[in-house]
């Protein structure tokens, strides 16, 4: 092995081919640093000008037994010279750090494509733990792939030997070795990761990571098993400044921006729960940006503290996942009754109960729509991808303050953990959010805490304002005065008013837009994190001559005013959802139209291929157009 001592851009002497799009998946033990390797490849590819989507796929266990199938952690990166809408159905290069990772992930690898394994990890113990009777590297099982058996452990240890690190720490640099190898394979610049290593690690650990990265690159250059490398040219992104964001990061940034735009202090109150905790982490790090965070003793305290903070005039936000939302239900009912503005985030995960805590599902829609006692409607919005979380929470806060109501924002584990390049908005692009607090009325007229404006919103009078002292509570109240009332007709009136107020949000939201033909055979109607896969599938279906359009709902309650008209313009409506048909149930009930469901609850997102097949099956039987996935 050549020892590389200088951090300089390295050029390959082997042939180079161009590819428009590449999907790489790193997989290994949950302690093997696969998330780090994946996120480094993501950042480096972003700097290289590619469009990107990522899919971190990790187990709920922090450290399952080493080498076990349960402990396999993966990170998939799709980078391309064209627009990227999904992390990719299948992968062009699979890096498997041990037999268990190979067994769990081999089915993702396209035939004939590159499999990189750590040959050293395929020992008797590793094979036994993965349940392999024979070594798949030797028994011909992998004949249809281009297998690179790299002695990663041995080479990493040799590379980092000059640092004097012990065996365990040396072996922990295997991820940098494989990352260097992947960087060689796709002509990636080492520099961004070298910079990262300098920032992140110190002394001999930093040196070891640097050496391992270079060693991996050099191995790619020298091994005879790899004949050529590939480059993926820059994508044509709209001009502007970009950064990579995960959904949870974009959501956190959106909350901070919304607070600034409304001249409010952000109060984020939460109880730790996967996959929402990263929002609490991000905001806790940014308390200097006018953010107050509060880790509550439980989910109920989190929503309760938000209600108190909202009463006090703050921008109060709580975030959780499905099981936490269930615990917050009573508090949400109180917020509806009090008519205070709140943003409530539900980063959905596999359920019911503890379910699949790190995996994706869209199974909380009906919970957030109806999961409260009494008639307690609330606006519901869903983010369609990582970057979209930013705009979604800003819009949620606009609606919450304009109508004095709690608003639900749905995200999911796929959106929250996945990342993509996000064009950073200029400050001038962000509209101010007007929020008014009344001051004491002139003269002797009494203050009416439940007076209504044109959209039925009540005034947001905050403690500290002389002359506006008032009491609010969960008991039914007289419209206007807010005095307790058990009058039957008043209750009917108040239920109607609260429902109409939420319905009035429809006047604040844009009409639904359709991608594709204005009329046609099939409309794919979906919501939330399935956006990219649905868009990609409908683009490909149209390219194959099918008459298919795609509409994606951000506003689930109320729905856009033109939705009924849109539904009527297509022969059939296909509704892909990562649940058993929750939005389909609402659409049928609301519009009396039939829809075709496509449902999946496997803790995984849709593949484009699954959607394409469903679209094909729906199109007129006479049409036998070939669809190339």
């Amino acid at each position: 092995m050549p020892t590389v001592t200088e951090d300089k851009a390295t050029a390959t002497a082997k042939p180079v081919s161009e590819r428009r799009s590449v999907v790489v998946r790193f997989c290994g033990d949950s302690g093997d640093g696969m998330q780090l390797a994946g996120s480094q490849l993501t950042q480096t590819s972003a700097f290289a000008g590619n469009d990107i989507a990522t899919f971190p796929d990790f187990p709920a266990e922090i450290r399952a037994p080493r080498g076990s199938l349960a402990g396999v952690s993966g990170f998939q990166v799709h980078f391309a010279a064209d627009t990227v809408l999904t992390p990719g159905d299948a992968v062009d290069a699979l890096v498997a750090m041990n037999p268990a990772a190979l067994k769990e992930n081999l089915h993702w690898l396209k035939p004939g494509q590159t499999l990189i394994v750590d040959d050293d990890a395929f020992d008797a113990r590793g094979l036994r733990q993965a349940g392999y009777a024979a070594n798949p590297l030797d028994d011909g099982a992998l004949a249809s792939w281009n297998v690179l058996r790299a002695p990663v452990t041995t080479l990493t240890k040799a590379a980092v030997a000059p640092t004097g690190l012990g065996r365990k720490q040396s072996e922990q640099c295997r991820n940098f070795f494989t990352l260097g190898l992947v960087y060689w394979l796709y002509g990636r610049d080492l520099q961004p990761t070298l910079d990262f290593i300098k920032r992140k690690f110190k002394d001999e650990v930093a040196e070891a990571a640097r050496l391992a990265l270079h060693a991996g690159w050099s191995y790619g250059e020298t091994t005879e098993a790899l004949e050529r490398s590939y480059i993926v040219p820059r994508a044509k992104l709209a001009p502007g400044r970009y950064r990579n964001v995960t959904g949870n990061e974009a959501l956190s940034l959106g909350l901070i921006a919304a607070a600034r735009l409304s001249a409010k202090t952000l109060f984020y109150c939460a109880y730790p729960i996967t996959p929402a905790s990263d929002i609490l982490h991000f905001l806790s790090r940014n308390r200097a940006h006018g953010v107050r965070t509060f880790q509550a003793e439980d989910e109920i305290a989190a929503i309760s503290a938000c209600i108190g903070a909202a009463f006090g005039g703050a921008m109060a936000v709580t975030g959780s996942s499905g099981p936490g939302l269930a615990l917050k239900a009573e508090g949400l009912g109180l917020a509806v009754m009090l008519e205070l503005p709140l943003v409530v985030i539900d980063v959905q995960r596999g359920g019911p109960s503890t379910g699949l805590p790190t995996k994706v599902e869209q199974t909380d829609l009906l919970q957030v729509m109806f999961g409260r006692s009494g008639e307690a409607p609330m606006p519901v919005l869903a983010a369609s991808g990582p970057g979209d979380c930013f705009n979604t929470v800003i819009e949620a806060w606009c609606i919450a303050t304009r109508l004095m109501t709690p608003v639900i924002v749905l995200s999911d584990a796929f959106v929250a953990n996945g990342s993509e390049p996000w064009r950073v908005p200029e400050m001038a692009e962000l509209a101010l959010i007007p929020v008014k607090h009344p001051t004491a009325p002139a003269g002797d007229e009494p203050f009416l805490p439940y007076a209504r404006d044109d959209l039925l919103a009540r005034p947001w009078a905050v403690p500290g304002t002389p002359g506006l002292e008032h009491r609010i509570g969960g008991l039914e109240k007289t419209d206007g005065t807010g005095a307790i009332s058990y009058d039957p007709l008043n209750h009917q009136h108040m239920v109607n008013v609260r429902a109409q107020k939420v319905a009035n949000a429809a006047t604040l939201i844009p009409p639904l837009t359709v991608e594709g033909p204005e009329t046609g055979d099939v409309l794919v109607l979906a919501w939330g994190g399935t956006m990219g896969a649905c868009r990609e599938a409908t683009i490909r279906a149209r390219a194959a001559g099918l008459s298919v359009a795609h509409a994606h709902l951000r506003h689930l309650n109320p729905m856009p005013a033109n939705l009924g008209a849109v539904l009527g313009r297509y022969g059939k409506v296909l509704m892909p959802e990562l649940n058993t048909g929750q939005l389909a149930m609402l659409i049928r009930a609301r519009f009396g139209v039939d829809v075709v469901q496509l449902n999946k609850v496997q803790g995984r997102p849709f593949t484009v291929d699954e959607l394409l097949q469903a679209i094909q099956a729906l199109c007129a039987p006479a049409e036998t157009a070939e669809v190339t996935p």
Binding site: A46, G240, I256, R260, A296, E297, I307, H470
Partner: protein, 338 residues
């Protein structure tokens, strides 16, 4: 406390136009009257005073005070108040709760609000019964109490409100009796003045479902034999004739008669600001009829409040500038596409 500049307020200034809907004769009336007196005496500004409650008879309290107020949900008032106080430290935030609301469904929130030293004042009306749901036993019901849900008598050990508050390292812990206006008023004034979370248990008679449960502490003819009124630095003396006292024995206290060679110097002197809550715990745990029950301030110490502690990580300005925000949005690893 926020002190107004307008003329000296009177209790009636804090009354609302709402009809008070407690049962005639309820102990809650006495506490409400005393609260209004205390607010007037302190000159509390109505606009910066907030009462937050949960669910139960006691939790109707905010409707009857012309301040800001919120009637919340069952057990959650301490959490609601915590959020309000975190964001509006200048407000005087009171929580009104009961033994079911605060010690059963909401005990988790209560403990955390106290240990965080949020700087809210918690009044727990203890009537040892569920009143609003019409007479089930509560976590403070005495063993043997026959209620609608314990037809053969309550079997279980009650939860002691004060030892619970002390276990949460609450910085101000006191007990008062609804109809003992003088001590109740004094305890409320001291709670209001305390910087930090204050917890006051108020013995409150429910004459409909659990009448006379506190007669030993309320009846002027006998109560001095059954309660010891605490005074900081003073020996623990009680009795109608003030002829009994509390003396240390092992890790506890015993009742002794004064005289026959036993003098005040042999008695334990109350120390509400002791280094540890050990004495307060012993006083809190004293139960009628074996021991006299402690009335007054058991513990009053200073420790940093939640807002003081959190200030370290909070930024100086509530609103970042546009430049700050733009920098945050850009992040550390951005790039430009031309």
């Amino acid at each position: 406390m926020n002190v107004p500049t307008n003329p000296v307020p009177v209790p009636a200034d804090y009354a609302t136009d709402q009809e008070v809907r407690w049962c005639p004769g309820c102990g809650d009336f006495a506490v409400l009257a005393q609260m209004k007196k205390v607010l007037a005496g302190l000159g509390a500004k109505r606009e910066t005073t907030v009462f937050i409650s949960g669910i139960g008879c006691a939790s109707r309290f905010p409707y009857y005070l012309d301040t800001y107020g919120m009637h919340g949900i069952h057990g959650r008032a301490p959490a609601i108040a915590t959020g309000l106080k975190r964001m509006r430290p200048e407000l005087d935030v009171w929580v009104v709760t009961g033994d079911g609301d605060g010690l059963s469904i909401g005990v988790g929130h209560l403990i955390h609000a106290l240990r965080r030293n949020v700087d809210i004042k918690v009044l727990l009306f203890n009537n040892r019964i569920y009143g609003l749901t019409k007479g089930q036993f509560s976590p403070t019901s005495t063993p043997g109490l026959v209620t609608r849900s314990t037809p053969f008598g309550s079997m279980l050990e009650p939860l002691n409100a004060l030892t619970t508050a002390l276990a949460a390292n609450c910085s101000f812990v006191a007990r008062a009796v609804d109809t003992q206006a003088e001590t109740l008023g004094e305890v409320l004034r001291r709670a209001a003045a305390h910087k930090g979370s204050a917890f006051v248990e108020i013995y409150q008679n429910c004459h409909v479902f659990n009448d006379c449960t506190f007669d030993y502490a309320k009846d002027n003819k006998i109560r001095h034999d059954h309660v010891v009124e605490l005074e900081h630095g003073k020996p623990l003396i009680f009795g109608i004739e003030r002829d009994m006292g509390l003396r240390q024995v092992g890790f506890g206290l015993e009742v002794v008669g004064l005289g026959d060679g036993i003098t005040e110097d042999d008695l334990v002197r109350h120390d509400e600001s002791a280094a540890t809550p050990a004495l307060a715990q012993i006083l809190a745990a004293m139960r009628h009829p074996q021991m006299p029950e402690a009335i007054g301030v058991l513990r009053a110490v200073q420790r940093p409040t939640q807002n003081e502690l959190m200030a370290r990580g909070d930024g100086p300005g509530l609103h970042p500038t546009n430049d700050d925000l733009a920098e945050l949005l850009r992040g550390k690893d951005s790039w430009v596409v031309e």
